[in-house]
């Protein structure tokens, strides 16, 4: 189970109206990109509280975020060597590493990390069906956008992504079992894998469409009932204040 999968619970995060949660996530994610060290410290403390409340297993999360940490390291390095403000610390292959560069690199990596953790808390405490319903609610007033169809597509994408990844893994193993990984040409290797995967995915999509039809699928379906409470409004207000704080400090 990845830390991004929904886990049932009874925390405030779980009980929050999904529309409010989406707005809060958007507010925090956008404003954190302007945040400084002080406000990032405060946000990180709040996120640690969120991690605790939503029951995210930290060692498991670190295990699943390995690739993300590599990306963060890349972002940190790129930012550190591209900013030449502050005192010169050392030279590395004709590139100057300065205190300003390191500080900027650390700040950028921390901001991205904060957004990732906020997303993790959101997905851990929100059912994909709630995300789908909230998306439908937000899209309803937008002209020329079929909100029901869009919501179903979001739901199916969430549902079938793990299946497609599983299929890709199986195909890759089947290739390896027949010595496919001895092939040197990466384009050939990729095309062998992707042709099989596309074929399988289309077949699965065809079966899924039939199965949905057999269960009477229609776009005019029962809507999700939203019941926002005062607490939801309180959280939204607090998130607004946090966003201002993040931008200012």
């Amino acid at each position: 189970m990845t830390p991004f999968m929904y886990l049932s619970g009874n925390s405030h995060f779980h009980r929050l109206d999904p529309r409010y949660k989406l707005i809060i996530l958007a507010l925090v994610s956008i404003s954190v990109l302007k945040a400084g060290y002080i406000s990032l410290c405060v946000t990180s403390l709040l996120l640690i509280w969120g991690i605790k409340k939503t029951g995210i297993n930290i060692p498991n999360a670190i295990k699943h975020l390995k690739l993300f940490f590599i990306l963060l390291l890349f972002i940190f390095t790129a930012r550190a060597v591209s900013d030449e403000s502050g005192t010169l610390l050392f030279r590395l292959f004709q590139t100057e590493v300065t205190t300003g560069g390191l500080s900027e690199g650390g700040l950028t990596a921390w901001r991205f990390f904060t957004v990732m953790i906020a997303g993790m808390i959101f997905s851990r405490s929100t059912k994909p069906s709630e995300v789908k319903s909230a998306a439908r609610w937000f899209l309803k007033p937008v002209p020329f956008v079929p909100e029901n169809r869009a919501a179903v597509m979001i739901g199916l994408a969430i549902r079938f992504l793990p299946l497609i990844l599983n299929q890709a893994q199986e195909l890759s193993l089947a290739r390896k079992a027949r010595g496919g990984d001895f092939r040197k040409n990466p384009v050939k290797r990729m095309s062998e894998l992707s042709i099989g995967l596309v074929k399988k995915s289309f077949r699965s999509a065809d079966h899924a469409a039939l199965a949905m039809e057999s269960r009477g699928f229609t776009e005019d379906r029962t809507d999700t009932l939203f019941s926002p409470s005062r607490l939801d409004a309180g959280y939204l207000f607090s998130a607004g204040l946090l966003a201002v704080f993040l931008i200012l400090y």
């Binding site: 299946l163 599983n166 199965a211 269960r215 029962t222 999700t224």
Partner: protein
């Protein structure tokens, strides 16, 4: 709700249906049979004999090129909503049938399509999941379930619509012994509650002792239609393996030998 099997009323009629896919020759030809309420029919046949196509026709997913299928005297294509509600179909691969992001959401998919009120959906979904022993898993992502649990979830998605007939396409494929055994017991108990079952399979061993009737398909047509006891010894000429118990002269013994697994 104990079904009366003495003189059950005929409620599904298949009359001289023909069907062909656009890019192939005739797939089904001149298929006729009646289904009585509460029957457990085993639709047996080798791969490619037309079992899945026939099930899809019965569910209204495909339309016959000739002939008619009637449910309670009414052609099924006249009211597809009613057809899909009354004749549920469990597909061979539950992974493609399960479309919800959680067990609860997937079970609610059908009633939501029929625009039932949310409170009613919550009640029926909860009671259906409870009856199938899935209530504890209601918030689980379906991809994390075992094969047997996925199959039960696929059944829950159909049962929640309170169907009169359940069509099952290769219900035991990819299931281990405990999964197949518990599914078999579940199918039997649903049949006892009066739900008509039509199970299509090439592996008759597991289910043959539960069936009231066996229809054998061959090359898109019906080759035999009789009680299983009468047909079981002639199965191999249609490319279907004769059950072990019959081979050893023990008749049609229960596949689980009456053992109930945890």
């Amino acid at each position: 709700m104990e079904a009366s099997k003495a003189h059950p009323p005929c409620f599904l009629q298949v009359e001289n249906i023909f069907f062909e896919y656009p890019d192939s020759g005739p797939t089904l030809s001149d298929i006729s049979f009646n289904v009585n309420k509460g029957e457990f029919i085993l639709l047996a046949g080798a791969n490619g004999s037309g079992k899945t196509t026939l099930l899809r026709l019965l569910n209204g997913l495909l339309m016959p090129s000739a002939g008619e299928i009637r449910f309670l005297g009414e052609p099924i294509q006249k009211n597809l909503v009613k057809t899909r509600k009354n004749i549920g179909m469990v597909f061979q691969d539950p992974d493609t049938q399960i479309v919800g992001e959680t067990v609860f959401d997937d079970t609610a998919f059908g009633p939501e399509n029929f625009k039932l009120p949310r409170e009613e959906i919550n009640l029926t979904v909860t009671s259906t999941l409870e009856s199938l022993g899935l209530l504890d898993l209601k918030d689980r992502c379906p991809s994390t379930l075992s094969g047997g649990e996925k199959r039960r979830l696929a059944l829950a998605g159909i049962l929640v619509m309170d169907p009169g007939i359940i069509l099952l396409d290769e219900p035991f494929s990819n299931l281990d012994y405990p999964g197949a055994s518990s599914l078999l017991q579940l199918l039997q108990s649903l049949n006892r509650r009066g739900i008509t079952m039509i199970a299509a399979t090439h592996d008759v061993e597991k289910v043959v002792s539960k069936a009231d009737r066996m229809i054998i398909m061959e090359n898109g047509g019906i080759a035999e239609d009789a009680p299983p006891e009468q047909l079981v010894q002639s199965l191999e000429k249609y490319g279907i393996r004769e059950p072990c118990s019959s081979r050893f002269g023990l008749g049609l013994a229960d596949w689980t030998l009456g053992r109930s697994l945890p």
